[in-house]
Subunit: 484 residues, 2 copies
């Protein structure tokens, strides 16, 4: 990706809010590091949304921040937000900017708030399996520090683990590959430190494994994508680093058969960390196997792991057991996205769309969405796997590729098609990539009248509307979101 001199084209700059010198001065009074050089301002306009990657290849970035604030402490974050609230300057918080929905891109200029300098483990209570960690900590560093220093694991393995931060996970409701045992990040979080739009610092939850002290305010900010407050620290549940791990693979005749085995396994109370089922297209492409490959990995206490995998084995009949090497191959290659990148570089319009639904709706969503993608003019490939299983349903993870001159139009139609099928079957718009810019146009429709609660909470907590404007489909005082 050719980056990023001062003369690239800036796609959304027509909507930019300038950050004047007086504001820069005020920001520098409260935050030691505030960058205004071109390279910083342009780099803050990038993430891993396929559209921004494609634009970058064409010498274009979505938007240019007016300044990039890089706080090293919560107090500096509070200072920056107080200044920006006061002066009505948009603030776009970011972590590793590995998001794939444009959520960390400033679309109205203003201040980009880079939280990566607020990092590291603050405290570990090993008896209680709790870790306090700063929001800008990258996932791989957290996991290695927990293991080496404390014999613990978080159990959170998003594909982006080396590119993404704790704060980004929480802001966007991240899922790791081991979620059937460890849960998603919203299941792992016990409490938060959050800076509100006006600079107030609050602490939510954090006192106990469960409480009955009013609504769980932690969950107001988990998934708020920087639009309701800025997460600066989190208390997360950890687990003993497992000494025991097993993987197994099965081959099913059909995707429906495999889904049903996953469903019955979870229904009996088993919780294998990983339970992934690939459709015929992906089984063939990824594993050179006919039919549908199911991969399972579990880890932890040997007796509990073995008991759970026995349930899976019983429920997988009459599928055939496949070689364990398939699991090893997946474990080795699971974070490699080079095939996607290759496709983008070769002019294909490629993306993944993850949605979730109850078990009884998954068959119709799978068939309907793959069919709708295949019906689109330009589609080269459409496929899916079930990536995260729960007792009541699962995540379907679609991949599509198209070849067309009208790339952005095709991209939008592909998304609209999968979203329409999912919502018609009562499913959820997103399982773990969040909303950001890309799904913003769909959120009000997906939530229905409950969207009014989100807008009311937004207005109450951020009356000036400075926090990540243009995202989550929320109204913004700076205008409508430029995409779409």
């Amino acid at each position: 990706v050719p980056l990023l001199g001062g003369d690239v084209e800036v796609r959304f700059d027509r909507a930019a809010v300038a950050v004047d010198d007086a504001t820069i001065g005020l920001l520098r009074d409260v935050c030691e590091r505030v960058d205004v050089d071109d390279r910083s301002r342009l780099a803050a306009g990038r993430d891993w949304w396929p559209l921004t990657v494609g634009w970058a290849l064409a010498g274009e970035v979505p938007a240019r921040a007016g300044a990039v604030a890089r706080p090293a402490t919560t107090a500096e974050v509070a200072g920056v937000l107080a200044v920006c609230s006061d002066r009505r300057v948009p603030v776009t918080p970011s972590g590793g900017r590995s998001g794939v929905c444009g959520g960390a891109i400033p679309v109205f200029g203003g201040v980009a708030l880079d939280l990566c300098g607020i990092d590291g483990i603050v405290a570990v209570d090993n008896d209680s399996l709790l870790v306090d960690v700063r929001a800008g900590t990258f996932g791989d560093r957290l996991e290695s520090d927990l293991r080496a220093g404390h014999g613990l694991t978080l159990g959170h393995w998003p594909q982006s683990i080396a590119l993404s931060t704790v704060g980004g996970w929480l802001a966007c409701r991240s899922a790791g590959q081991y979620s059937s045992r460890y849960g998603k990040i919203e299941d792992m979080v016990v409490g938060l430190e959050v800076v509100l739009a006006d600079g107030r610092v609050i602490h939510t939850g954090g006192t106990a494994p469960r409480a009955a002290c009013g609504p769980d305010l932690t969950q107001v900010f988990v998934g708020s994508e920087g639009a309701l407050g800025v997460i600066t620290e989190a208390r997360l549940r950890a687990w003993p680093a497992p000494a025991y791990q097993r993987g197994v693979a099965y081959g099913f005749a059909t995707f429906a058969d495999g889904l049903d085995a996953c469903r019955r396994t979870m229904r009996r109370g088993a919780t294998p960390a990983v339970l992934r089922l690939y459709d015929p297209t992906e089984s063939s492409r990824n594993f050179d196997q006919p039919g549908c490959v199911l991969l399972a990995v579990d880890e932890g206490d040997p007796g509990l792991v073995d008991a759970g995998l026995r349930v899976l084995h019983q429920e997988s009949r009459p599928a055939v057991r496949l070689a364990d090497g398939l699991v090893e191959r997946w474990l080795a290659e699971r974070n490699d996205t080079s095939a996607l990148e290759w496709a983008v570089r070769h002019g294909l319009v490629v993306d993944t769309i993850e949605v979730a639904a109850r078990w009884s709706a998954l068959g119709a969503i799978y068939g309907g969405a793959v069919g709708a993608l295949e019906d689109l003019e330009g589609t080269v490939s459409a496929s899916a796997h079930q990536s995260h299983a729960y007792p009541d349903g699962a995540c379907l993870y679609f991949t599509f590729a198209g070849q067309t001159a009208a790339a952005e139009d095709y991209y939008r139609r592909a998304w609209d098609a999968v979203v329409a099928v999912t919502l018609a079957q009562g499913g959820a718009l997103s399982h773990h990539h969040g909303v950001g810019l890309n799904r913003g146009r769909h959120l009000a429709g997906a939530l229905g009248p409950a969207f009014g609660v989100l807008t009311a909470v937004k207005a109450a907590l951020d009356p000036a509307g400075i926090l990540n404007p243009g995202k989550l489909g929320l109204p913004s005082p700076f205008g409508d979101a430029p995409w779409p």
Copy 2:
């Protein structure tokens, strides 16, 4: 309890808001059943808070509602709230009124909103283990309908199961006795139907086992105790009714030893449904045993249950295994509160206080709270058990009894003492009984600056302040909460 003619004394009536005839007329236009007789109005002022029970024995009720609305549909609830918002009339929602903190007592008069007429199962998706149930459904009816009609269980067994409703559980963050396997009600809920203060009906969540579509709005209303909206229906996770159940009992030398065995068991990933540890006072009183009795019950898939109980057995060494009859006795007597009622009738000031904290704080909270209660003049008995265990901590459930002429003063000092010890150790004010009136004075202090988020959300969702005023320690346009 002598109930409840028109001439009993009404303790909080000095603060009552009248409901005039015009308003009664408007209410009757939108809700078929609106009662204004004395018996209904007084009965709506009762719950199971020990103070109200004591007052009733003295011929006193806390407050008198102006009218009792008994809607049979969500549309009727919406109509009642729209009228009351418009006319600035307080509304106090209630289910079974089995709460023990005064949360369902109208303290400013106005309308009591009895939701028990909105009941029954709406739909069951057995493949997805999801049940849609109306908020006024009582627990025992839901459980028996699920088992008989669908072969399912909710797994939620609060002591109040025959007296409490689904909506009450959700509003107050209820826990059942089997929570270490099935979770608390906030873990079981997938989505809600809620009527907002102005009468708008919204649906939160409900689409998928997990989602990343902004904050989980369901959790804004779970625990809101009727102050942010009125829950009229819920989608809950269920499980196959178990064919296999096992119980075991162990005897530990000390409470600390027993706590540590519970902690190590959960740490290894075992999830026995029940894991209860009694201190020496309660082990002696309830089971005629020396030392500290640990009871465990699990149910579900035999292989998983046996594997989990093996972990418990290993981690309970060197405790002695006690007779299984102790478990059977507990199962038979677990919902019997006659000893408490006997004590109240005999002039003792008796209550239970449940708090929760991380494992590393539980020892200090146990010792500090029992010591503080014993130090109070008038205390006859102070004891505790660990009632709900999680990987990161547990609930401690204190019981105190005092004999004193200054009953209410003693009662308040007992609560203040346990709360002070708990908060000083970083624990949570309540695990599953909620806040209501009794804990209202402590909530702002317990939440710290995050309380400002709760008040902001309250103001945004209920600008007229009509919903359950005087509870959760929230500011109210009708004055301060009369207790304390």
